[in-house]
Each structure stands twice: as C-alpha cells, then as structure tokens.
Amino acid sequence: MRRAMTGLACLAATLLAATAANAQGTVKIGVVMSYSGQFADPGAQIDNGIKLYMKQNGDTVAGKKIEIIRKDSGGVAPDVAKRLSQEVIVRDGADFLAGYDLTPNALAAADVSAQAKKFMVDMNAATSVITTKSPYMVRTSFTVWQLNEALGTWAYKNGVRKVYTLVSDFGPGHDGEAAFTKGFKDAGGEIIGSARYPVANQDFTAFLQRAKDSNPDGIYIWVPGGPQPAAIGKAIAERGIDKNKVKIMGQGELTSEDALKSMSDAGLGLITAFHYDFNHQSEKNKAFVAAFNAEFKRNPDMFSVGGYDGMHAIYEALKKTGGKTDGDSLIAAVKGMSWESPRGPMTIDPETRDVIQTVYIRRVEKVDGQLVNVEFDKIENVKDPWKARLPK
C-alpha cells in the first residue's frame, strides 16, 4: 500500500513537472503515431525518416530550434489520438502536429487541427477524404485512389481484360477495390468476380483458389503491410497460378522488402503500383538509401519517405514564413511547394493540399541474386482522383 502511494505521488509529481513552458526560439512539433502494438513498425520507420532528415539538415530552421515531442497512439484509437493531439498542443505547447499513420487517428486529429487552427502534416494515412477535414492539413505520403486507379487504367492499356479482385475487408481495401475497378472499367475492362477477405486473415489458399477457378487474365489484390503479403505470395505459388498467363497486380505493400524476403522466388513476376521503392534509380534516392542504412541498418520504405518528405515540407515552410508557426502562414507556404524527393518529383496540390507525384509500375525481378521491384513504367503527375471528382 505504501508502495502504491509513493508510486502514485511520484507519478503525479512527474506529470506536473512535465508541463513545460514554450521556450523562446523553439518550434515544437507534436508527432502522434503508433510506436507500440501491431503497427509499431510503420511508426518506427516514419520516425526514422524524421530523424534522418533532422540529422542531415540540422535541427535549426529560420533561427528556431526544432523539438520533436513523440506520443504513442498505440494502433487504431481515434479517441486516444485526438486526446494526444489536444494534449500535445495544450499541455506541451506544440506549435503544430505531424505523424498519423492510421486513417481513423488522422481523421480524429483533423478536428483538433481545424479547431485549434494548427498546421498538421499527415505523413502516412492514405484515405482520400482525410485532407478535406482540416484546412490546415497537408499530406506527404499518397492516397489509395491515386495509386490504384492509375493501376487499373494501366492494366487495360497493357492487355488485361478480365480481372478478379481480392481485397482486405476494411476501408483502405474497399478504396483500393473501388479505385482499381473505376480505372479498369472506365478504360473498358471487365471485373468478373470479387471477394473481400477478413482483416485478420492468415491463410489465403481458399480465396486464391476461388480467384483461380474463375479464369481471369488478371487478379487484383489489395493487402496492407504486415505478415499477409508474404502469405499471399506463397499461396499464389502453392495454388500453381501461372503469372505469365494471369497478371497479379496490387498496391506496393504486396511486394514490400520483408514480404519478398519471405516469399522468395514465389514473388517473381508480381506487378505493383507504388510511389516509392528503395530500389528507385535516382541519385537522390541512392544517397538517401545509403544514409538511411548507415544510420538505421535497414532499408527505407514508404513510411520512411513519408516522414522524410513531411519534415522537408515543414522545414521549407518554416523558411518561407521566417519561423512563424501559426496555421494560416504555414499552410499558405506549403501550398504549391514542389521538390525532388527520394521517390521522384513531388508537388503539394494548392487546391487540395494533397500530394501530386509519379506512380511507378514495377515488376518483381531477380537482380544480383536479390528480389527487387524493378520500375518498368510510370504515370506522372497523378493527382488524387477521388477528390478531383468531388463537386466543388
């Protein structure tokens, strides 16, 4: 009992002491994302991107020191994310918000950004509607519609006529299905079957067997990062689906680095659409990958580049506003900003504050004994089509 009481007293004292005043000449950024739980790895990679940018560009911008305050939302928890975003502003004196790996969390925090008029950088969450929820928000990652509608159009242009779609049964999966279907059907293709697998599904043999049985010439798969892409790749090989006859297409997570390591040769020939791969052949990216490996002993991925470019947007905006951190100045500074990122060229759309970038079409090939995504086609300056269709 005494132990509990002393413990509680210490807790209370520490919490009170943590109410720090905002020192002059410091810009505090509240970063809210998942550092623990099943989404901890994306969070860690975004954080690595942030850290690398700050290491390479110093921690002072426009005469002010940058301080990062990290908050763990622990997975899908919009109430927690909203509270943490509020607290980091109210309690810790953050000047603006960043991070947000998951859509529900980003949507909840958008409320805070709009109410408190604070600049917010969405470094990952990819549902199209998110940036419409706060006029002070900018996104530096991608949207599901952007990638998948482009893939659908590309598929038809490259000879695919009948597709079976298989997606994860939740928001982003439904988005992927809708986006691909729209792009594919608008171009003239036919969707001959579709299925949605449960979010926590481990075994894909049944679903892929059904897909195979419908005799398509393309199978579109949407899967989030984690253990599932590898499972799908292996199941495709096990089912004996011939990738020369049936084009297997999906969003980049299907062929992420660790998925390919697990899949091994089963992954050869998978076609994906994505905005970033560590294998992208550009000077800037080669330098980025080398620096990332030197610092963190692993390759960067889409999460890292989202964090890296998010920091770039922040730094450049602060330079433009001369250190002013109010929402209006920063968002005005970031609109229309254009730069060369490790992923390629990217621009912030002044109308939607979302990212305009190149969508690369890649195929898995063996290069120097390793399986990598090799870019063989691209679609440039892709805007988010979902928002483009919204009535003005």
């Binding site: 807790l11 943590a18 763990d72 928890a77 109430d79 949507l107």
Partner: protein, 344 residues
C-alpha cells in the same frame, strides 16, 4: 465482528450501516475535483479516465458481485458508443437524451444476451462472452455503410450540453460531464449492491445451488444485473463518443474488453471502488510510461501488473483492506473507514 443481540444486527440495520458514507469515500470524490484546479491541462485524460472508471464499475457489478467473468463486455460499451454517435450523426446532437437512448439500447442488447449468459458458467461462459464480443466487432466491420468500418464514424457533432456548455478543446466541459455521469451511476450501483438484491447476488456468486435451495432463483437476478451492467457500459461508451466526437471499431475490440478486465482485477473486484482506482492507476501509469518511452512502455506496465499480483493479492484495494484490517491498521485508519459523523 462481535455478536450482539438480534435487535441491533437485523438486516435493516446491516444495510443502514453499509450504506452510510465513510470518510475515505468523501475524500475520494472531493479528490476527483482536483484536476480542475491542479492539472487543468490534463482534463481530456481525466475525462477518459472517468469513462474507463464507469466501464470498470459496470464490469464489477457482474464480475465482483455476481461472479460472471466476461471477456466481451466491450460489446455493450461499443454498442452504446456507436448508438450515441449515430444519433448525433443523423442530426440529433443533444448530449443527455443521446446518452439515455444509447444506454437503453445497450441495455436492450444486454437483456437479450442475458438469457444465454444466465445458463452457463465457468470457461464456457467466458468463451461465450468472448465470442459474442468478437461477433459484434465483425458485424460492425462488415456494416461499414452504417458504422464507417475501419475509418470510424464521421460527422459526429454534439450540441452544447444543456444548451450552454460547448465541448471544448481543453476538455473542461467533457470532464464535468463524464464525472457527473460517473457519480450518478456510482450512486445507483452503491444503492444496488447494498440492498437485499446485492446480497443475493453475492450469494449466487458464492454458491448458486444453495441459493436455489433457499428459494432465491438465480437466473432472474443474473439477468437483471447483467442488463443493468450493460446499460452502464453503454452509457460509458456514449460519454466517450460524445466527449471526443469520434467513434471507431476500437470501442468493440478484444483489447478493450481485456484492458477493462485487467483494470478491474488490478483495483480489486467486488468493492465498487476497485474499478475506479484501477482505472485511475492504470491509465495514468500507461500515459506516463508511454510518454517516457513510446516504444517499450508495455514493459513497465507488465512489471506493474506482476508486482501488484505478487505483493497485493486481490488487487490494490484488496491489499489495502488486508493491511487495514489489523489491530494497528484499525487504530491508524479506522477514522477513514467509518462514517465522518456519528448517528444522533
């Protein structure tokens, strides 16, 4: 307890003695007002602690008093949360009426389920509650046209409380709201457990066969307390939705049911205040640890739980009760555990 003549220790006197407010209880509830003054930047956290405390209290009613272990209680929490969210989304943003409707909706679900719950015990009961909770989660995920699915419900906008107090960014109104709701329902729970009904629940928990032998049918009692517990859990969920203006599938998942069970066991079951204490300590500890180290805070939390079990059996309140229930404890702390004034 010394045996005195029947006239002094009859059932009415027993309940009268139980229901009187002890000093420590008054101190506790006054202390819940401290955050307004001492830590005004933490009111959002405080209101979420109040919500969790109410949820834990609802679980205590069935677990601590009736002996029903439920691993799926988040079903009612989430049902209330989504109901309140949907009502607001469809245009009726008045908080109090939304709260009542959400509570009753969750209660209806609880009533229906109670018919199944009352028939099983032990592991089968635990797994059935788990199964129902997970089933409801899957349903909510599938019905994304209604619930917003994984993205959560959008468009929840609350009107000002009582027409005057808007739910603001600092959580001031939110904490008042959550605290008052918690207090009112706590009074209900307190009255319920210190009544013949409460006593019969304890009898059922201890030995339901014998209860039937003395003429007290256990199933209707279990159904009643289960329904009441569901209403409370639903109200807690509704308060969370209304004060954060957001609701997503996380209100229904296994993690939430498991967390609240851990919180209740941590604080001590069957003591009403156990859930409240557990909620306060667990959530403050979690917030503190994840602030210190966002990546590995599971470690100190795990150590905390292990330490409590090894050193404080029967939860924190159970451990405290054991300490206080000694000669020295009664001398030092007796004044806290008895009513502040004598009966005239």
């Amino acid at each position: 307890m010394t045996v005195t003549s029947p006239a002094l220790t009859g059932p009415h006197q027993h309940f009268d003695a139980q229901i009187r407010w002890r000093t420590i209880e008054i101190v506790f509830w006054l202390a819940t007002l401290l955050p307004f003054v001492v830590t005004p930047n933490y009111l959002s956290l405080a209101s979420q602690i109040a919500v969790t405390a109410l949820f834990a209290l609802s679980l205590d009613l069935i677990l601590g008093y009736a002996g029903i272990v439920s691993l799926g209680h988040a079903a009612f929490f989430g049902f209330g949360a989504y109901t309140a969210g949907l009502i607001a989304k469809w245009g009726w943003g008045e908080p109090l009426s939304g709260l009542v409707i959400a509570g009753l909706a969750a209660g209806l679900l609880g009533f229906v389920m109670s018919f199944v719950i009352a028939r099983f015990r032990h592991l089968a009961l635990i797994m059935i509650t788990l199964g129902f909770g997970l089933l409801l989660l899957e349903l909510a995920n599938s019905a994304s046209w209604l619930t917003g699915g994984a993205d959560g419900l959008q468009g929840v906008r609350m009107w000002p409380l009582l027409g005057l107090f808007k739910f603001d960014l600092y959580g001031f109104v939110a904490y008042w709201y959550a605290l008052i709701v918690l207090f009112v329902l706590f009074l209900v729970a307190r009255r319920l457990t210190n009544s013949p009904f409460g006593l019969s629940l304890r009898g059922i928990r201890e030995n339901s066969v014998r209860m039937r032998a003395i003429g007290a049918e256990s199933r209707p009692h279990i159904r009643t307390i289960y329904t009441i517990s569901a209403i409370m859990a639903g109200v807690a969920g509704a308060v969370l939705t209304q004060t954060t203006e957001t609701v997503s599938l996380g209100v229904l998942d296994f993690q939430r049911s498991a967390d609240i069970l851990v919180i209740l066991i941590l604080g001590g079951t069957g003591r009403l205040y156990g859930g409240l204490i557990g909620a306060i300590i667990y959530m403050i500890a979690r917030d503190w640890f994840s602030g210190v180290n966002p990546q590995y805070w599971y470690f100190p939390i795990g150590v905390l739980l292990i330490a409590v079990v090894l050193f404080l059996p029967n939860g924190i309140l159970g451990g405290i009760a054991q300490l206080v229930d000694t000669e020295r404890g009664r001398r030092w702390f007796g004044w806290l555990t008895s009513p502040p004034w004598r009966r005239p």
